[in-house]
């Protein structure tokens, strides 16, 4: 597939608490950065897709707050509720349908304004699970145990993901938690929910990302070389945690296979040069790598220790610092896509991988990776 491309990206700094900024302020900043990046004005934008979540934003119809700031006035506009990668997917279909030549996609969230555990508790079934007090951290801790048990991944290997990603974030001026830490420090950090230490978990964050997708016949007006969309797919697994093999991500495997098929990629582990994955927790980066076929089953921890996923490795993963270094929910996946775009353009500075031409980005919806969206992007058409 090479009928559409990403021609502009913009994101706010990811911060613990943007006390100055409402949702519209963040969106305005990211949208203008994306327009500047594309060398476009709002008049070049044919339609808008905003992405937000009513629970995280504390209001019904959360998209209403950002309608003016996203430039949606007098344009066709829609709103996806879920990760920003899903918003981008809908934005892509609105181009491929021939209805619009360009789509502006935004995704925002302010974790600082609410109590995260109450928001994610509301994602559990109200009849059977909510009263037990489940939240995202406790559910993912169970998944971490299931994955570690099956794959024989060690706590040290999990900790090493944290060391790598926080270290990578030192090259990313927009990251919230750039840190030089050791495996020992991760393992010595507070145990939040066994086996997840504090430094195995991503922080609560505020941030917004905007992206401009253009049809093939419109990429020529952009300021920078296009980053082509070669494949995109999403898939949902069962809802109840007990209905799934929690140690595996079957939906991610299916979505990744479809996206790679669309892109003509037969061996992702060698044909993908850079990856930005949804590392809300350390174990997830390793588990997602295996599920996507970016490495063999049960091998992610070993390859990590061998340096394969470092910035100077053969497959840099989360060179931006990943979600462990800043996790504005909803925006998170769209930021992964934007970071791949920066890599493929050679704009990643100290985090730049060596001459990547193919990159993959991933977004997640729901509990323990129930639903995934995978994007394969390329500098070459």
């Amino acid at each position: 597939m090479d009928s559409a491309a990403i021609v502009g990206v913009g994101m706010t700094a990811i911060e613990k608490n943007k006390i100055r900024d409402g949702f519209a302020d963040m969106v305005w900043e990211a949208v203008n950065l994306a327009l500047d990046d594309a060398g476009m004005t709002i008049d070049d934008i044919d339609n808008v897709v905003t992405t937000s979540n009513d629970f995280w934003d504390g209001r019904t119809i959360s998209c209403m707050a950002v309608s003016d700031a996203s430039g949606a006035r007098e344009k066709n506009v829609s709103c996806v509720e879920g990760d920003g990668t899903f918003g981008a997917f809908y934005g892509l279909t609105r181009i491929l349908s021939g209805s619009y030549g360009t789509t502006l996609v935004t995704a925002h969230s302010k974790g600082s304004e609410s109590v995260s555990s109450l928001i994610t508790n509301a994602a559990f079934d109200p009849i059977y699970q909510r009263a037990i007090g489940m939240d995202m951290v406790s559910a993912c801790a169970m998944q971490a145990n299931a994955y570690m048990h099956r794959s024989r991944t060690t706590p040290e290997q999990l900790a090493r993901v944290s060391v790598k990603n926080h270290g990578n974030a030192r090259h990313n001026p927009k990251a919230q938690l750039p840190m030089a830490i050791t495996v020992e420090e991760v393992l010595a950090s507070e145990m939040i929910c066994d086996p997840l230490h504090k430094l195995d978990c991503s922080p609560v964050s505020d941030g917004c990302c905007a992206m401009i997708i253009a049809a093939k016949d419109r990429v020529g007006t952009a300021a920078k070389p296009p980053v082509w969309i070669k494949g995109a797919a999403f898939c949902a697994d069962a809802f109840h945690l007990g209905d799934r093999d929690l140690s595996r991500a079957a939906a991610l495997t299916r979505a990744a296979k479809k996206a790679f098929d669309m892109a003509g990629i037969t061996d992702p582990a060698t044909q993908v040069h850079v990856a930005e994955l949804y590392d809300a927790f350390t174990y997830q980066e390793l588990m997602w790598l295996e599920a996507m076929g970016l490495c063999a089953d049960n091998q992610a921890g070993h390859l990590l220790e061998a340096g394969v996923f470092d910035i100077d490795g053969t497959l840099p993963v989360n060179a931006s610092g990943g979600l462990l270094s800043g996790h504005p929910v909803i925006a998170a996946g769209l930021i992964r896509m934007a970071e791949v775009v920066r890599q493929l353009r050679g704009e990643a500075g100290g985090a730049q991988a060596k001459d990547p031409t193919v990159g993959v980005a991933q977004g997640v919806n729901g509990l323990c990776g129930q639903s995934h969206c995978v994007w394969v992007l390329s500098a070459e058409s």
Partner: protein
């Protein structure tokens, strides 16, 4: 792969009721999905992707797309959630259209649903509005609509009898639709004698709250005609979601509907909508909208909506019947409501509307209303569009 025309090939609805304690949300969704699959003679295996939506705070469930897979049939399929408040159902229909039109999917299942019985509807709607500026005085949808009606009446000297006439029409039409909730005829005097909720809106001027779900199956052009001999072709979609704060609205006019409809008419080459369109399923949550908004749709001039309605032009046997299904005044499961309008327009095109069928419909319009005076529109046709 590549862009393709899109048609609706099957629809399904629950029997909408004020309260469905016999089913949970997934089960309610599944009733509509099952009926849509039967209508199209497909199985869930044939479905490539699912577009689903509701308004989160009515049921208090986060990530509904994920939670609902047992009911929707989304297990190991692409599932995406769209939500835009009252316009959610029509937004979903527009979403399904683009998903199929993109060529990435050939058969997409679109689902809108709500169990309004599970929370206080007015309280939940109030949280749609800005917590700092709007929530102090705002009192759910009816308060904003009442302000709109007051402004219109002052500007065009309309009366509450005019509004009541619309309610009489829709409630009469509803008697012919077995799926809708309120099926009882009323008179103008009965509407005016019902309790005043928010001046000038009486109880019988407004929609009820409902539990219900609607599912629509959309297919690409090369498959649609194999699934059904009478596909409902989607000719065009348009929307406007303009205002950020309630106080920005041009009260008494629905500018968003005027702009979106003009975009639709331009795309389809429609010059005289009242003559060229055969039937309209208007997302009309209260009676006065049935006068004001048909003016914004260009069916008649500004200030002439009441006369148009009193003439009988919008009745079942009129020039352009509006809401043969009984419309929103007869049932309003909010996240489904806009999709029900779309499904009902499809039934009219496909000739499947049975007791509320308008004869020989070539073009139909379905709309969505919500948010902060927002509008969505779909244009449906019996003939495959040649553009």
């Amino acid at each position: 792969m590549g862009k393709q025309r899109v048609a609706i090939v099957g629809t399904g609805q629950t029997f909408h009721k004020s309260h469905r304690p016999d089913v949970n949300g997934q089960e309610l969704i599944n009733e509509a999905v099952g009926r849509a699959l039967v209508d199209a003679d497909l199985t869930i295996r044939d479905i490539d992707a699912i577009v689903i939506g509701n308004m989160d705070h009515f049921e208090g469930i986060n990530y509904v797309d994920c939670w609902s897979v047992d009911g929707s049939g989304g297990f190991m399929k692409p599932v995406i959630k769209l939500t835009t408040g009252g316009t959610t159902g029509s937004t979903l229909a527009i979403g399904g259209y683009h998903m199929v039109a993109s060529g990435l999917f050939d058969r997409v299942l679109v689902i809108g649903w709500e169990k309004n019985s599970e929370s206080d509807t007015t309280g939940a709607i109030t949280t749609a509005f800005d917590p700092v500026w709007d929530r102090l005085v705002f009192a759910g949808a009816i308060s904003g609509l009442a302000a709109e009606a007051q402004a219109y009446m002052a500007r065009y000297s309309a009366t509450d009898r005019d509004g009541a006439r619309v309610s009489v029409r829709d409630r009469k039409h509803a008697c012919n639709n077995p799926y809708t909730q309120l099926r009882k005829e009323v008179t103008v005097d009965e509407v005016l004698a019902s309790p005043m909720l928010a001046d000038p809106i009486h109880l019988l001027d407004v929609c009820p709250r409902s539990d219900g779900a609607c599912a629509v199956i959309m297919a690409g052009e090369h498959i649609a005609e194999k699934i059904t001999a009478t596909p409902d072709w989607i000719w065009a979609t348009a929307n406007r979601h303009t205002y950020t704060y309630l106080g920005d609205a041009n009260f008494g006019r629905l500018d968003s509907l005027a702009a979106a409809s003009r975009e639709i008419y331009a795309k389809a080459g429609i010059r005289e909508p009242a003559k060229e369109i055969g039937v309209i399923e208007l997302y009309q949550p209260y009676s006065f909208a049935g006068i004001m908004w048909i003016e914004d749709l260009g069916l008649t001039g500004y200030g002439q909506g009441a006369e148009f309605v009193w003439s009988g032009a919008t009745d079942m046997d009129g020039e352009i019947p509006i809401n043969p299904s009984g419309g929103v005044i007869a049932c309003n499961p909010i996240g489904a409501t806009g999709l029900i309008r779309c499904a009902e327009a499809a039934l009219q095109i496909m000739g499947k509307a049975e007791g509320h069928q308008v004869p020989d419909v070539d073009l139909a319009l379905s709309t969505g209303f919500g948010g902060c005076f927002w509008s969505d529109i779909l244009l449906h046709g019996r003939r495959k569009p040649d553009f």
